[in-house]
């Protein structure tokens, strides 16, 4: 129910008038100058991927001439220590991909339990889960280190993979998503004779798919960017993810190789940029109208 508008609406972003542009000019000036500032590092980043070390040292803002993007930098990164970069790439996709898929699915199951059933200790469990989730990662990573050492899992891919499956934020959001699915939908399926597992897969999941996809992407980014966990758990270079590996691109004397560092960081960021663009589409999860 909207009230009748008695007042002319505030000149907002929706309507166009040349007058508005002039009046908003100060806003444009502020926003445009900050835009330049915010874009400068990214511009420098892209330009720098085309330079070798000596070109970097000149401190210019132009493209490298000759252009070293492919030869020297790209080939150099992949040739570093007999191609260990390729392994980092695979590891990153393994940790982030498996962590996001399995973690989100597990969170969906847990969220469904909170949505669909009353059960003993429900409130307490939810509060406990959220409470433990507030414990910062560096407080859990050290004890986890000693647990994995006792299990003989230290410096294995499991030691990064298993903690990456925990997605408490995902459980919380899943409860929110599940709450958007009307009860009638589940009840109707139940009356039709579907059991609980069938209801989850055939009725539930399709209805929260946009949210589910968003959570997978968010979890992927989180695991991909997690530096502290692999830093603590892994000591052999061939198991590193990219985010850990790029900090170890040094010469034999231990000096950083700047142009390869930059290229490594660039390649680490590209999947995230793709995720970012994809996520624009999914950021507004909506319930498809199954119930009218």
């Amino acid at each position: 129910m909207r009230e009748q508008r008695l007042v002319k609406p505030v000149p907002g972003p929706r309507r166009f008038a040349p007058v508005a542009f002039v009046r908003n000019l100060p806003f444009h000036v502020v926003a445009a100058s900050f835009s330049l500032l915010f874009l400068l590092p990214l511009y420098w980043f892209v330009v720098s991927t085309t330079k070798d070390a000596s070109q970097l040292y000149q401190g210019t803002l132009t493209l490298g001439n000759p252009n070293h993007f492919i030869h020297d930098n790209l080939t150099g990164v992949f040739a570093f220590q007999h191609g260990v970069f390729g392994l980092w790439l695979v590891n990153s996709f393994l940790y982030a991909g498996v962590g996001a898929l399995v973690g989100t699915f597990v969170a969906a199951l847990a969220g469904f339990a909170f949505r669909r059933y009353g059960f003993f200790g429900k409130r307490l469990l939810f509060v406990l889960i959220l409470g433990f989730a507030l414990v910062p990662p560096f407080a859990t990573a050290l004890p986890l280190f000693s647990i994995f050492r006792d299990f003989g899992l230290l410096d294995t891919r499991w030691s990064v993979l298993i903690p990456s499956l925990v997605n408490v934020f995902g459980v919380y959001l899943m409860v929110v998503y599940w709450n958007q699915v009307p009860d009638e939908l589940f009840d109707a399926a139940m009356i039709d004779g579907a059991n609980d597992v069938t209801i989850f897969f055939r009725v539930g999941l399709p209805n929260i798919l946009p949210g589910f996809t968003t959570l997978i992407l968010l979890a992927f980014v989180t695991v991909w960017n997690n530096y502290f966990l692999p830093l603590v758990m892994l000591s052999s270079s061939d198991k590193y993810p990219l985010i850990r590996g790029i900090l170890t691109i040094t010469s034999l004397q231990g000096f950083p190789i700047y142009n390869l560092n930059i290229m490594g960081a660039f390649l680490t960021s590209i999947p995230l940029l793709i995720m970012f663009l994809v996520m624009q589409r999914f950021l507004a999860p909506q319930l498809t109208g199954a119930v009218r």
Binding site: N24, S35, Y57, V106, F119, P136, V166, F228, T268
Partner: protein, 287 residues
């Protein structure tokens, strides 16, 4: 219709609880237990609360809070101010979609990469700013120095998180009923008065929430200085989180590091609850 079935519920919960128990609950409990021991290398002995006493009286631990405090009192207020300005611009300007994207873009990059970019851009060898400074007549310019480190972190953090901050604030602005601003304008308020008396008060709770997020973040700074460490030797207690890592893995005082982690976690909890409690109390008063 909710159905009461503890068995079925825990069937669905089982996978999550198994992983959560193993990777979060058990480590927290074990951490509490281990923090009661002293350790050097493989040797371990009972010290009771001795580690905690040592943490409280360890000046190097508390020195590490200089960076979080600087971020909290300088960077965060500046960023929140900038975030409000950006959010108002998004609300006001037609072409704001492009601005939103540009300001948010840095948030798509990991903290490690943000650290690399700014560290290198300020470095003595690669900085694009140095030729400009030289042209301006500055003798032997140097941007990465010890006194400048907090400011470099400020630049990194502002660059990384302002876009995100402004989007959250923008969402709150959009939720304000238009009638409020219309009414104020009808009563003769100009734009800046509408902002000051109508919009900013409505942003209060969101700003408080953002403040809590930023406190939590500032107390845990670890990733952004990593590449900075390539260019300048950082003290081992540059931030609390870095000190914890160094105590555990460089000095071999593993259980002491765990105790420090718990103290830091307790501080984070305390600060968050202090602010959360305040904000909810205010909400109750208004309701």
């Amino acid at each position: 219709m909710k159905r009461f079935s503890t068995l079925k519920a825990f069937g669905f919960l089982a996978p999550f609880l198994a992983i959560f128990g193993f990777a979060v609950v058990y480590p927290v409990i074990l951490g509490g237990y281990l923090s009661l021991f002293g350790q050097r290398g493989a040797r371990r002995w009972w010290v009771g609360l001795g580690n905690y006493h040592q943490v409280i009286t360890d000046p190097k631990f508390w020195e590490g809070f200089k960076i979080p405090m600087f971020l909290l009192f300088v960077q965060v207020p500046f960023m929140l101010f900038l975030g409000v300005v950006f959010a108002l611009i998004y609300e006001r300007v037609r072409t704001a979609r492009a601005y939103r994207l540009i300001f948010y873009l840095p948030y798509a990059f990991p903290g490690i990469v943000a650290g690399l970019l700014w560290s290198y851009m300020f470095s003595k060898s690669m900085s694009p700013f140095l030729p400009i400074l030289k042209a301006l007549g500055v003798q032997n310019p140097k941007l990465i120095t010890y006194p400048a480190l907090p400011w470099i972190l400020l630049v990194i953090a502002v660059w990384e998180f302002t876009g995100y901050t402004s989007l959250i604030l923008y969402a709150t602005l959009l939720a304000i009923p238009r009638e409020y601003a219309e009414q104020a304008q009808l009563d003769g308020a100009n734009y800046s008065q509408v902002v000051w008396y109508v919009k900013l008060p409505m942003l209060r709770n969101t700003l408080l929430l953002l403040l809590i997020f930023n406190i939590i973040g500032a107390l845990q700074v670890f990733n952004e200085p990593q590449f900075l460490g390539q260019l300048i030797t950082l003290p081992p207690n540059f931030t609390p989180a870095i000190y914890i890592y160094n105590q555990a893995f460089s000095y071999g005082a593993f259980t002491y590091a765990i105790a420090m982690g718990i103290v830091l976690a307790a501080i984070i909890f305390a600060v968050s609850f202090f602010f959360l409690n305040r904000s909810t109390r205010e909400l109750n008063v208004r309701a």
